[in-house]
């Protein structure tokens, strides 16, 4: 069980896909110290950038104490184990992860949990743009697992979602759930413009205020309660919208009635 502490404030981006419980598994501290990372365009060893210590067995597989907001690709593709980051984390945290758990006691940067397949990411702070969204141009979004964000998320989050659950306890930026085909997104506060654009399946639940409803969505009814996952559900009542009709979509968008009185005059007559 390893504790990493940054030796300095990183000025250049660090590419550190080797900070991964699967990579650390069965390696001695010395072996871990010699793992390669890139700082800017220079190849370095992990020990050049971090203080590496071993602790009790019961602790999480990897604990990082300090600000690693310039360190990218931590836990990329991890399958087992747990990473705890006590500080801010950099881009591509847990990208394509296939199991295990990442906890961040701070904020994360873009593409957190990008294209993840399984596992759990808990962010006790804000997440930036492209949460769970795939790399630019790709449509291979998150397939499974769960992401919980206590704070707000930026724009283009949950794009191309194909499965799994994203729970956002704060506000979400524009283009939330762009092009989603399956899976569930729940925003407890407000959601930005162009919500669910291009949606063809799946479920998006907004308990707060929506900036707008795309004209390509049609109201289908109202619902008192919506299931988020096996353990929890969101309390309504909600408007139920179907869309995105421009894509012949069959996705469901649930928008809180109480938080959005501005929608009443437009949609109530169709219920």
């Amino acid at each position: 069980m390893i504790v990493l502490t940054p030796l300095k404030k990183f000025e250049l981006p660090v590419q550190a896909e080797s900070i991964n419980p699967d990579v650390f598994q069965g390696k001695s501290v010395d072996e871990i110290a010699s793992l390669t990372v890139w700082e800017g365009n220079k190849q370095k060893q992990l020990c050049d950038l971090f203080k590496i210590e071993e602790t009790a067995v019961e602790a999480p597989s990897i604990t990082i104490n300090g600000d690693v907001s310039e360190v990218r690709r931590i836990g990329q593709g991890m399958k087992n184990g747990e990473i705890v980051i006590n500080g801010n984390a950099g881009m591509h945290l847990g990208e394509k992860m296939a199991g295990g758990k990442i906890t961040v006691n701070g904020n994360t940067s873009g593409w957190t949990g990008s294209s993840m397949k399984k596992g759990l990411i808990e962010i006790h702070g804000d997440a930036s743009d492209y949460l769970a969204s795939p790399y630019r141009g790709s449509t291979e979004g998150m397939r499974g697992g769960k992401i919980i964000v206590d704070g707000n998320v930026g724009s283009d989050s949950g794009c191309c979602l194909r499965g799994g659950v994203i729970k956002i306890k704060g506000n979400a930026g524009p283009f939330l759930g762009f092009n989603i085909t399956d899976g569930t997104i729940h925003v407890e506060k407000n959601a930005g413009a162009r919500l669910a654009a291009n949606m063809t399946g799946g479920k998006i639940v907004v308990s707060g205020v929506v900036a707008d409803i795309m004209p390509t969505f049609t109201v289908d009814g109202a619902k008192a309660k919506v299931k988020i996952d096996d353990t929890e559900s969101a309390q309504g009542p909600f408007y139920v919208f179907l869309g995105d009709l421009a894509e012949k979509g069959n996705g469901k968008l649930f928008v809180s009635k109480a938080s959005n009185p501005q929608l009443g005059p437009i949609y109530d007559k169709y219920l």
Partner: protein, 564 residues
Amino acid sequence: MTEMIIKNGFVFDPINGINGEKMDICIKNGKIVESVNEHKAKKIDATGLTVMPGAVDIHTHIAGGEVNTGRMVRPEDHIKDVVRKTAITRSGTGYSIPSTFVTGYRYSKMGYTTVMNPSMAPLGAKHTHEELNDIPLLDKATFPLIGDWWFVLEYLQKGDLTGCARHVAWMMETTKGYAIKIVNPGGLESWGFGNNVHSIDDVVPNFGITPREIMCGLAKVNKMLNLPHSIHLHTNNLGLPGNYVTTLETMKALESVPTDGKPVGHITHLQFSSFAGDSWGNMKSAAEEISKYINNHNHMTFDMGQVIFSDTTTMTADGPFEYVLYQLSGHKWVNSDVETETSGGIIPMHYKRTSAVNAIQWSIGLELALLIEDPWKMFMTTDHPNAGPFFAYPKIMAWLISNKARMATLKRCHKKGQKKSLLPSIKRELSLYELAVVTRAGQAKALGLKDKGHLGVGADGDVAIYNINPETLDIAKKYRTARRAFGNAAYTIKDGKVVVKDGEVVQHVDGKTMWVNVQTADPVKVDADMKLKFKKYWTVEYENYPVSDHYVKVSDQIHVKASV
């Protein structure tokens, strides 16, 4: 200058009828010669290795507007295949649409030395040549799209074949092109108005002529100009179930063109033109019908367009077909109408074993290649990147030389695809000699490249050496070993210089760009009327239109005397 001798290899040179004989190949000043001074010459010991002429690709989209747009549309395609620089090679990206340098390196690693870029909108000729200049290690040529070009349609409408021939000669010089490319004749002009043609006798709007007249007219023009290659044809109704009827009609229509023994046309990516059935649900292979016709006729050549199960990008001038693909896949797409010349479209495509249609397509390509008896008629391509990236060629070679390899892939395909496949009934396995025909000799011959595709005296010093010992290795059984060898040439020699050794690029060499300069008795007059048309219908003035000589970095002009 440099001399080289390749000693003791098993040489496969089908144009000169050499089938695995142990012999030496001598190169001097970049050309094959009878003998060299053995003491001075650089020796390459090819004992126990297979020596073939440098491979030739007759159809691969590697440069130009549609390729570059494809690159821009697919950032996700590049990130999964990043190529670092080395002391010799430059960095770049793959995968389905590699950057220019990576294209050159990857072709060369497989023993390729000559490739043909088959689709260039004349308006994009300058761009295409700029990209071709940047592709190293390969000789290249590019085919301008002429089948839906307004001037040509006007000449054909008037029935003025001589005028048309002179105009096409001017086009070849203006765009530094090599052959006449025709894509979905008439269909692209119709696409400008949101329509398509659905048979070779449908009328093209505004011109009142039919695809049949365009194809046969240009095939006759091709003969009048004595161009080295025949017309290069992408058929109507490509990629639609039941289109084999159109393909058969196209081949029958071209029988009417007088031939002097040379083929009158080349139908490219034949796999996409050989679908039977009337919907995607009951789509099946028409390889039997098509190959039966081809086995009984000698007026045309073909290439495979073999599907590779991978994530690739389709790009073609056939705009209406790309629209059909968009409706099927719902993926991001690009479509355009290139002014008065052609159209274009791009859409990503993932060919999957688990899709019945894709499995059938995969099977059709191989069925055609194996059922067409004469290897000099049917060549190996993937229509890169439309049916798969070119660096998957070793996979196709393995399928062609080994029934075992085919069955291993077939049994992993969709059940419906397996059931409909003719492959279990075809036991043919290509020999190394036949493989040399379908990958270099046949292609060079069909393209009219006199100095390529063979190792006779006077040929270009382009040689590929593979780590295959035909005496000890049974390629049909050990197809994996053969596949590895074809993917990593022991040596690739370009113009007498070793550019690849053991699958690694060891030297940077610029390739030539070949283009035909056709001398007609009476050249086309660029008169005020023609310039006015440019002013009226093009976004580019006539003066800015031609590809001037300095655009072509290493120019290889081929002089041809026309009979008009």
